[in-house]
Symmetry: C2
Subunit: 301 residues, 2 copies
């Protein structure tokens, strides 16, 4: 089997993680936590989302967080942006990279963004164009690639149509999301086989959820296809806050443990990641689903 | 990528799972639970261990359990046997298949069995010979193949020496255990590449732990090498009972979810497995680490 020499992990915990947690973390604690993450070796941290506080009240302090964190030059600080207004705020906050998002399934897009897929395109097109004009890189998130909670299976043609349109707008990278954690390694390879005929592997990232325990197996399937960028959420935060043991986002430290033990260079320190995971577990006040965090805590007890 | 058409899952929860749980399950509940497992489509269930109750008090009712369960002819009911005395009891209890165990690392073998590796061989040899004489199949468990809690890395020569000796004794199948859950897919393929030069893939099973979240990725790596038999513990029981979120044995239903969704025939019903997992979670009185169990419970809430 051939595996890559190095892999990039993109940390989405402060945004994708926290936006799905019930408990509100104070601005001061978010800043301290992001500062911890900045020192782990991570090169990309999605620190917040500039959406209207009505939609995600837990991230209402986006501007304050962005302005208060210590910036390190080796780290790209990104934020999720839904529209023009969000972009203006992000630029004011001196965000390094812009992330936009939509779904491959019509129903999920409608429920999540309150617009059809076709209605979403012009909104994102303007955000992407203005981001490029402001010399910002743009990352696109595509949700429900491997299954939709409302529609079930998602047609490959829908995935391709949205991917094509996002790349045509000018995004630099597309992150393919297994939003409900239903992907399996065979499906990952089948979807990637088709997508990699159109887009280079360096432009594709994978965003897996560990809901059914398959996240790292899916990562393995993806690296075998040449993918070298993976999203993770430290501690596995942003899971299903309604069930104590249920997992959502794959934990960044679980990704790191597997990949670095395979001899793949990641450039991130596991011990530093575990410190940052312990910090946020304490603040969230619940046992987080990260395997490596719980294994580390079990050893100490 | 080439994957097998079908895979066999061997259920070790009632033995390997329960022996590592603090809470004692009543004989009546064990019997009811094993009867549930018998109806899932599983073809191999390790129901107990005939070790001295001093060592594993939670399995002190081995004889009662073995005699009380409803036997289905399509299921092989196996038990773990440490010595001649255990074998006699297992034969009296009409156990279908005998499982013996030892470690690839000297220190783990000493701590676990209270004998050196060389001192263990003649004990197991007699058990294996007498089992064969009694027309019973014998499964061998080899612990700490991918790492030892006391010695760290385990030399491949030690793995080969013990594997050779066990097969030479006459075991039918060898289950390679990642006892502390430290294996990674690269290591799995490296170890299997060497072992499969000596033994056919049909004689090798993999026994992964999900301590660091890598179990299903390791399964994927192993099926790519031609392995088609995997051990699982329903609910993921037998993890680390000291830390609520920490995982040990990979959950059988997590294995089943991934493999069956890949189109690989397993012959086991996920819904039936989840029912049996819910049953034992209730009896053990703690949230079990199985991803699919927690995901199923989260949906219902």
């Amino acid at each position: 089997m051939k595996w890559p020499d190095s892999v990039t992990l993109k940390e989405v915990g402060p945004r994708d993680g926290l936006q799905n947690e019930k408990k509100v973390i104070t601005t001061e604690d978010k800043v301290a936590w992001i500062n911890l993450l900045s020192k782990t070796g991570l090169t990309y941290i999605e620190i917040t989302s500039f959406v209207h506080p009505k939609w995600i009240p837990t991230l209402a302090d986006a501007m304050e967080v962005a302005k208060a964190i210590e910036r390190r030059k080796e780290v790209t600080y990104a934020a999720l942006i839904p529209n023009q207004r969000g972009l203006e705020n992000a630029l004011e906050a001196n965000i390094d990279e812009i992330a936009v998002f939509m779904s491959a399934s019509e129903t999920h897009n409608l429920k999540n963004i309150n617009k059809s897929i076709n209605e979403t395109f012009p909104v994102l097109r303007k955000v992407v164009q203005d981001s490029i004009h402001s010399r910002k890189k743009v990352r696109g998130y595509l949700s429900t690639v491997f299954g939709c909670p409302y529609e079930g299976a998602v047609e490959i043609d829908n995935i391709l149509r949205v991917s094509d349109t996002l790349f045509e707008m000018g995004i630099d990278e597309l992150s393919l999301g297994d939003t409900i954690g239903v992907a399996n390694p065979k499906q990952v390879q089948e979807v990637l086989e088709i997508l990699l005929k159109r887009f280079p592997s360096t432009k594709i990232a994978m965003h897996f959820h560990d809901t059914h325990g398959t996240a790292l197996a899916n990562v393995l399937a993806a690296i075998e296809m040449g993918i070298t960028t993976f999203d993770g959420s430290i501690g596995g935060i942003g899971g299903c806050p309604y069930a104590p043991g249920a997992s959502g986002n794959v934990a960044t430290e679980d990704l790191l443990y597997m990949l670095s033990n395979m001899g793949i260079e990641v450039g991130v320190q596991l011990s530093d990641m575990l410190s940052a995971a312990k910090y946020i577990q304490k603040k969230l006040g619940r046992a987080l689903p990260s395997h490596n965090l719980q294994a580390a805590l079990a050893v100490k007890e």
